[in-house]
Amino acid sequence: MAITETRPATQPPAVTSETERFVGLVDHDPGGLAGFIGTGDHKALGRAYILVALLFGVVGYALDGVYRAQQAKDFLPADRVGEIYSLGHVTFVLLCVIPLFIGLATYLAPLQVGSRTIAFPRAAALAFWGWLLGSYLVITSYVINGGPDGSRAKGVDLFYVSLALAIVSILVATVCVLTTVIALRTPGLRLTRIPLFAWSMVVAGSLWLLTLPVLLATMLLVYIDHHYGNGSSFSQAQWGQLSWAFAQPQIYVVAIPAVGAISDIIATLSGVRQQNRGVMMTAVAAFGILSFGAYAQPAWSPEVMNQALYVAMGVLILLPLLGLVAGWVTTLQAGKPLLRSSLLFSLGAAVTLLLATFAGVLYGLKQMQLHDAAWIERGTPPFADGQMLLVVSAALLAGLGALVHWAPKLFGRFVADGLAKVAALVGLAGGLLAGLPLMVYGFSHKVSALVGAATTLNAISAFGSLLVVIAIVLVVVALVAGRGGEQPTADAWGRGQSLEWAADSPPMAANFDLIDRVSSAEPLLDALEAQEAH
């Protein structure tokens, strides 16, 4: 007891440099592969997330293309068709788009809020490796004929365990990002002053934390029933129990960071402050709240899609998005925007998301009969598939735009802008072609001429998916082609507003030297204006 009566004297760790004090793990980086595996540096982790997520994006769209080609011309074994379909959806959402934004946020959020590191760097590193392992095992489970409703029992079990690992890892990474933005902001940077991308990550991360555990709950029930029980209850129609996470309104949660990224890109390239900033932040929050979809599970509540709440949310979510679009247009008009590839990506993402949300309004209306029993009996309604593809494509386009926009920070180089512009146009065309034909086919119960057009429409959708794959590859090529080009300065576009543009390109180990107390949402513009006034 005597040992514990007084507080033990502790020797404070010797602080040899700012880097060691704030980053810890980075300073002891042995370099090479060992250094990468053991790193807690948010920049290395962010880059790794982004590159792997892009790889999974290629896989997801390739799978979707194969599935649509199969619908156009039957060439796959029957038991494989459903597996390709569900793997495509899981890949889009949990292996590609959400991790892409987590990667961007892991890299950018600490820079945007003036922090020297991400909160819980070891947990962030563990989350990345857990997600990577989980994702790899999810795909492996399909290869051995598992997945939801798979024909091999061990493959089905592996799917649930590995997807749970991936989801838990995503949640841990989300907690790290959210805690960074909430608790590690530099003095003076109130929550109302943070960049809109960081704000959108707060909203999106909150929604992920509130909804993905519900998906996890369903998976736990299915796993226990499938592994220990006789498969008589939750093991039946497994994909039907999970599909809510990939449909309206839940699917919108993947697009929340997209609207934040678009806002930051447009404001920076326009060279003016974001117009109606408070309204924009409110609109992002409203968009997030209206995308909460954990309650809308047709497996337990078949009538949910006809209930007033579901319909109202589907309609109302268009309003904040229209508000955001108005804000983007106003900002573009107020400034002199640089027509860079990231702006093209952003505009393409905005158009695609607007179309998807408008489609969501139609989907919710019972009179349109787009999700009536006749469709449900035959599987997921094609209109819903088309809308999901539009939302995912919009989020991916915005993610690619963010990657191009912040490439000077991420990789210390500009991308080859001409090639990236081509990628933006190809990606926009691909996203629209992947989704719109399916939505058109969704009206085939009303327009009899469309019944015979199923083959053509599915073939067009498959072609659209192929174009998105090409767009992703083009962005990577543009990134590589930018090597050896002009070395970007800290404020790479010369119009930076928020704190990430005060850091070197790429940032040093501890991100910043010293940051003055922040007094507005655009501290760099403040400094520039003060300089010009003198």
Binding site: M1, T4, E5, T6, R7, P8, A9, T10, A119, F120, L171, T174, V175, C176, L178, T179, I182, A183, L184, S206, L209, L210, T211, L212, P213, V214, L215, L216, A217, T218, L220, L221, I224, D225, Y228, G229, N230, S232, S233, F234, A294, W300, S301
Partner: protein, 206 residues
């Protein structure tokens, strides 16, 4: 003489400005987010339980199979055990706020002991219930998933408390900086709140 005393490094340290409270309460904020996610996990599980129970009662007039046992005495004792632990874990927070380190360690240890008792009681409860997952579906899957997930949560809460206890032993927490203990206590309270919900939904209202 007075000048000599004033120049003493010890006294100078005593009059120095106290160090600022660590403003970014990083661990507490992170724990709050984790608690929100875990609360939603149980909301999802219990939501499905309630939906299926309501449907079963409406369709066939009964929820639990006739031959299964759902005792109430043991869950009542388990609930009581956790309610006691709420006070002991808060006692540890209060003690560290007063720089009362012996009581901090004692409170953490008693909390751990109560949690261990809960686990033993839960094991006994499982031995009484002996539900067959293959027969009593989906009720058995639901009950074991919900209570099993809570068991995992209480074990993680114990690990959290043990880690924070070691950090306290290493002198990392004081009356001005005790976020680790406070974060562990927050997680503990949420764990108990989740069990209160489970106790009411599964064992009291059956």
């Amino acid at each position: 003489m007075a000048a000599t005393v004033t120049s003493s490094p010890m006294l100078a340290l005593g009059r120095a400005e106290p160090p600022p409270i660590s403003r970014p309460r990083v661990l507490l904020v992170g724990t709050a987010f984790v608690c929100a996610a875990i609360a939603m996990l149980f909301a999802g599980l219990i939501g499905i339980y309630l939906v299926l129970r309501t449907q079963a009662l409406a369709d066939v007039g009964t929820w639990l199979p006739a031959d299964v046992l759902v005792p109430l005495t043991q869950p009542n004792m388990m609930m009581l055990t956790l309610v006691l632990s709420v006070f002991t874990i808060q006692w540890s927070v209060s003690a560290i706020k007063n720089d009362d380190r012996p009581n901090t360690y004692l409170a953490l240890a008693v909390s751990l002991l109560l949690a261990f008792s809960f686990i033993v009681e839960e094991g006994y409860l499982y031995s009484l219930m002996k539900w067959n997952l293959a027969v009593a579906a989906p009720q058995a899957s639901l009950v074991y998933a919900i209570t099993g997930a809570h068991l995992a949560m209480i074990i993680s809460a114990m690990v959290f408390v043990i880690l924070m206890g070691f950090r306290a032993l290493a002198g990392q927490f004081t009356s001005r900086q005790h976020d680790g203990i406070a974060a562990a206590a927050l997680y503990w309270h949420v764990m108990v709140a989740v069990y209160a919900l489970i106790w009411f939904v599964i064992f009291v209202t059956k």
